[in-house]
């Protein structure tokens, strides 16, 4: 694994020069659903999730810190407009269900990439555990897309991601106490561990919010029930990933880590983007985020009398990889699909907590729509209606 250092030492664009016009953010030309690479869309969805989380964290911080309300408002205004420009890159010919497929592809490929570079074995296990659940969601949604809209999920996935069952969705539902994990220790965790936890939590949170927003847009009762179920799963995932973060960190520390994570992820996007127009956006926002990071560094010095370098120094992996993780995901699927959770630990199926078993049995007692949508489903190029063997 190659590493980099010194990324966070750059000053970036000063806040006063981080400006937008309405036309620039709302009138931005979207990507092509058909011609752009699926990983360009993955980067858009990921960065959208991260910017939404940037706002979320800063709003919560402002509720606790009177002196920080104005500084936080300043950064939030810029991030709101970064967020808009990025999210508006998604073209309107994506149906909500097609965008859902892209969200799950993002979750799978990014979580798999992060799991491989995460140095903390327990945290890496958490990523692999969640990965197999998002992997299953993709398969259930692919079945729904085929059987509801008559569309092929691979038109979105572009052959980068397998469409197979993972840990079955109806078995993923757990009691809340079985979703809260051990956190890293702020004093001795590696910087990349902190960045990963902030990144994956942000991505999952946005997926949750997206499903909660679009679920009621569907008329079909099967779709409505699947979105209700998988939105709840995403809440479980936010609980799991959010609990990996040390609650003993101060708010300013969390803010600093979040800005560093934003820098790192924009840097990763800029390094790997294939669409030159979008690459320019990642580069511009990388400079903006360095400006935000520099701003919060000064706040940390002023209010906590701490040197931000104590948190930000050291090396990190050269970037978050945006590429198909097919081989790794297959390996994890083979080895870990039967894992379950018992309090903070990952355990064999037979040791799953009784609380979780009771919870899922009750939730599933009137039927399970993710199962309903996918009975007998095998992905085929051009949808399952393209099954020549059936001679239909």
């Amino acid at each position: 694994m190659t590493t980099i250092s010194g990324l966070f030492d750059n000053k970036g664009t000063p806040l006063e020069k981080q400006q937008f016009t309405w036309k620039e953010i709302g009138g931005i030309k979207p990507i092509s659903k058909l011609d752009d690479d699926a990983f360009t869309r993955v980067r858009i969805i990921l960065m959208n999730g991260i910017e939404v989380d940037a706002l979320r964290l800063k709003h919560i911080g402002a509720r606790f810190h009177r002196d920080l309300r104005v500084p936080l408002a300043k950064i939030r205004r810029i991030e709101q407009h970064q967020n808009t420009m990025i999210n508006w890159l998604l073209s309107a010919d994506h149906s909500p269900l097609e965008t859902t497929i892209a969200y799950e592809q993002t979750a799978i490929e990014i979580t798999a990439a992060v799991a491989q570079t995460e140095p903390d074995a327990y945290q890496a296990q958490a990523y692999r555990f969640g990965l197999l659940e998002d992997f299953d969601h993709l398969y259930r949604y692919a079945a729904l897309l085929d059987r509801l809209e008559g569309k092929d999920a691979n038109n979105i996935l572009q052959c980068y991601t397998d469409i197979l069952p993972g840990r079955p969705t109806w078995l993923e539902h757990r009691a809340p106490e079985d979703d809260v994990r051990n956190s890293y220790n702020r004093k001795d965790a590696a910087l990349i561990t902190k960045l990963h936890a902030a990144l994956i939590t942000a991505a999952e949170y946005q997926t949750h919010d997206y499903y909660m927003n679009i679920g009621p847009l569907f008329a079909d009762p099967v779709a409505r029930q699947i979105y209700a179920e998988i939105a709840s799963m995403e809440e479980q995932h936010v609980t799991q990933y959010g609990s990996l973060i040390d609650p003993e960190e101060t708010f300013i520390e969390k803010w600093l880590i979040h800005e560093a994570m934003e820098v790192y992820t924009y840097y990763s996007c800029a390094q790997q983007e294939t669409n030159p127009r979008i690459k320019a956006i990642w580069e511009r926002f990388l400079d903006y985020e360095l400006g935000h990071l520099n701003y919060v560094k000064e706040i940390m010095k002023k209010y906590e009398r701490r040197d931000p370098a104590e948190i930000l120094s050291g090396t990190i992996p050269s970037f978050v990889t945006f590429a198909s993780q097919r081989d790794y995901v297959r390996e994890v699927l083979t080895n870990e699909v039967d894992l379950r959770a018992n309090k903070t630990e990952y355990v064999p199926r037979e040791e799953e907590s009784q609380d979780s078993i009771n919870y899922k049995n009750y939730m599933n007692s009137e039927g399970n729509a993710s199962l309903t949508a996918s009975i007998g489903y095998k992905w085929l190029p051009g949808t399952e209606l393209n099954n020549k063997a059936k001679g239909e």
Partner: protein
């Protein structure tokens, strides 16, 4: 923007990823499909059950003022066993003509942006736009003549607007070509024609002679719209081929 469709780097099909697609297909063939569990419904069963259990409708048709006693003079004009059917279908037409007017405005903007029409052709589009707006007001008059509220959104008006949303998305997308927009307008005009024909039959059955007369005039104009859009689309597609 481009006003023609070209060969390019479309990445959606499996031919663009010969190696990855082979691996994807292979593992899919080796993996058993999902088996159902006891008592879990299939998609068909769940949908049937949901229909059976749904005690709801989309909504209701508001009682016309004539039936609530406000405009008693028009009461006799409402005939038939279910006057709400006429009100609902009239409201549907009104909603459709309003959306149609806005769609032609969007198409005119597209044509002006592309600069692909002669001034005579542009004038035809403006004329159709104005016809659609006039047809809306014809239906408003008809609703008022039977004491119904032309501002209410009835169930059929609501659902035709839901169905029209995709058409709005296609035509207002700055990236769609003129021919692609015409293709969408063709579905609009075909539906519109059939809608007016049905409305004429309905008004005729219920004895609303004046409505029949004004609706027939609208249908004549809609036939011209349909012929124009069909011809233009054919011309645009054949020219590109």
């Amino acid at each position: 923007m481009e006003n023609t469709t070209k060969i390019g780097l479309n990445k959606t099909g499996i031919q663009m990823s010969p190696i990855d697609s082979k691996r994807l297909i292979q593992i899919t063939q080796l993996t058993p499909p999902t088996l159902n569990l006891e008592n879990n419904p299939t998609i068909m069963e769940l949908r049937i059950q949901a229909v059976k259990e749904s005690a709801q409708s989309i909504g209701s048709v508001p009682a016309p003022a004539s039936l609530t006693g406000v405009v008693s003079t028009t009461l006799e004009k409402l005939s038939g066993n279910n006057p709400e059917i006429l009100i609902d279908k009239l409201s549907e037409r009104a909603a459709f003509e309003r959306t149609g007017t806005r769609l032609y405005e969007a198409l005119i903007a597209k044509a002006m942006g592309l600069n692909n029409l002669t001034s005579d052709q542009l004038a035809i589009l403006y004329k159709i736009r104005d016809d659609e707006a006039r047809h809306y007001r014809i239906v408003v008059d008809a609703l008022e003549s039977i004491g119904a509220d032309p501002t209410a959104q009835t169930p059929c008006a609501d659902l035709i607007a839901v169905a029209s949303l995709g058409n709005v998305q296609v035509i207002t997308d700055p990236r769609s070509t003129f021919a692609q927009s015409l293709n969408t307008l063709l579905t609009i005009e075909l539906t519109d024609n059939a809608g007016w024909e049905l409305l004429i039959d309905l008004a005729d059955k219920l004895g609303h002679k004046q409505m029949v007369q004004s609706f027939r005039h609208a249908l004549d104009q809609e036939n011209l719209h349909l012929a124009t859009i069909r011809d233009w689309l054919k011309q645009a597609v054949l020219e590109q081929a």
